[in-house]
């Protein structure tokens, strides 16, 4: 079993919670509450700014030029994500200049801290974040109404370009630990999946300080 598959298998119990999360189901069913939509745009923008820093930091510690290139190729789609989120915010008058919630800060701080533990756990975390995102948005993309205010976000997160970047990242994770994932990689992978679920829940329920 490849390292990427082993990581997914080790967090297999979490996967059904990803695709059945009420936040995603509401998006797919077209009945997402407007307040939740607004919290999502603001929280996702704040998170993606920090995620860009994490990805850049990971690129700077990549062990080979090839690894740096594959990781670096996630920076451009993230720029697009930020632009789509900013455009959506302008169109729907969502204030992005709000203090991020505790879960957003916790998630992004965890990723930044992970960089100090080295490349392997950090690349497992990047893979986890990208895999969860792509699987979640791809699952609901066919059902999502194209005229919904959040359609540009769903379309972007499940795009072919995202799929290509994820495929290259999968190979990179396999090469990072050809004999299988270390305990630190498994922990990082699992924590990111759980942080993602907490992030959606925080948006859904309107978490405050």
């Amino acid at each position: 079993m490849s390292t990427a598959r082993a990581l997914i298998a080790s967090s297999a119990s979490l996967w059904p919670r990803v695709t059945s999360h009420p936040f995603l189901r509401n998006i797919a069913d077209g009945d997402l509450d407007d307040a939740v939509f607004r919290r999502w745009v603001a929280a996702d923008h704040a998170f993606n700014v920090e995620y860009e820093r994490f990805t850049a930091g990971l690129m700077s510690i990549a062990p080979t030029q090839h690894a740096a290139e594959v990781v670096g190729n996630h920076l451009a789609p993230n720029r697009v994500n930020l632009e789509v989120l900013a455009r959506t915010a302008r169109r729907h008058k969502v204030d992005l200049d709000v203090e991020p919630g505790p879960t957003t800060i916790g998630f992004s701080s965890y990723l930044r801290a992970l960089l100090t533990t080295g490349y392997e756990p950090s690349v497992a975390a990047l893979y986890s974040a990208e895999k969860v995102y792509f699987d979640a948005w791809s699952a609901i993309e066919p059902k999502t109404n194209h005229s919904a205010p959040y359609w540009p976000l769903v379309e972007n997160f499940s795009s072919e370009r995202t799929a290509d970047a994820l495929a290259a990242l999968t190979l990179l994770v396999n090469n990072a630990a050809p004999d299988g994932p270390s305990a630190a990689m498994r922990t990082a992978f699992s924590r990111v999946v759980r942080f993602e679920l907490l992030f959606w829940t925080a948006i859904y329920v309107g978490e405050t300080w």
């Binding site: 930091g57 700077s60 990549a62 740096a68 920076l75 720029r79």
Partner: protein, 213 residues
């Protein structure tokens, strides 16, 4: 009152004149540089740029929000535009980009920049001699482009308004970092001067030049 980047650039002008007088640059300007020397420079600069991208990404990892996108764009432009020029010229000069090994000037310069990037302001100031220096050299050489079309293409890349804009943005970021107290002037001068020194040394490429000495 002149900005910090204006003062650094003023300070760095003699360094640019020294680069212009360096046999490698002078040879490019005349268009009669020994292709073996340019081949070696191309290989060294390719290796330099691979680490240069890491310098941008390291800075981006602790950049203020207002600079984050610029640094990601700089990393991306270096990777896709500047390295593309090198790959394009490699075949024409018989350069072995993948098999090349860093010479001492390249090691010294990349190690300095990567270490400097651990401190945001210092790292930015260390970048300026390369960005501003190449932009300035490119514009000077473009006034009378070299007759060899390969060297003319190289000059055109660094004289390009897009590259000038990147260099200007880099200078602006130095000023903003100074304004936001992320960079004090003595630190900026020390990093800038060291990078200018390493920039000049980089033109003396391993192989054809050093073997002749």
């Amino acid at each position: 009152m002149a900005s910090l980047s204006d003062r650094l650039v003023e300070r760095g002008l003699p360094g640019v004149w020294a680069q212009l007088a360096h046999p490698t640059v002078a040879g490019i300007a005349r268009g009669d540089l020994d292709p073996e020397i340019f081949r070696s420079w191309l290989e060294q600069d390719y290796l330099f740029l691979l680490d240069y991208v890491r310098v941008f990404s390291r800075l981006a990892s602790h950049a203020p929000d207002q600079h984050l996108g610029d640094l990601v764009d700089l990393a991306y432009a270096t990777w896709h535009d500047e390295l593309e020029l090198h790959r394009g010229l490699a075949a024409e000069f018989g350069a072995d980009l993948l098999g090349a090994i860093k010479g001492e000037p390249c090691i010294a310069y990349t190690e300095f920049l990567l270490a400097a990037a651990g401190d945001y302001g210092r790292g930015l100031a260390g970048l300026l001699p390369c960005m501003w220096g190449y932009s300035t050299l490119g514009q000077l050489l473009a006034e009378r482009p070299p007759p060899d079309p390969r060297y003319a293409r190289w000059v055109a890349t660094y004289a390009d308004p897009g590259f000038t804009a990147l260099a200007r943005r880099c200078a602006q970021m130095v000023d903003e970092a100074h304004e936001w107290t992320l960079l004090d002037e003595p630190t900026a001068i020390a990093a800038f001067d060291e990078a200018m020194r390493l920039e000049l040394a980089f033109w003396t490429v391993p192989g054809p030049m050093t073997e002749a000495e």
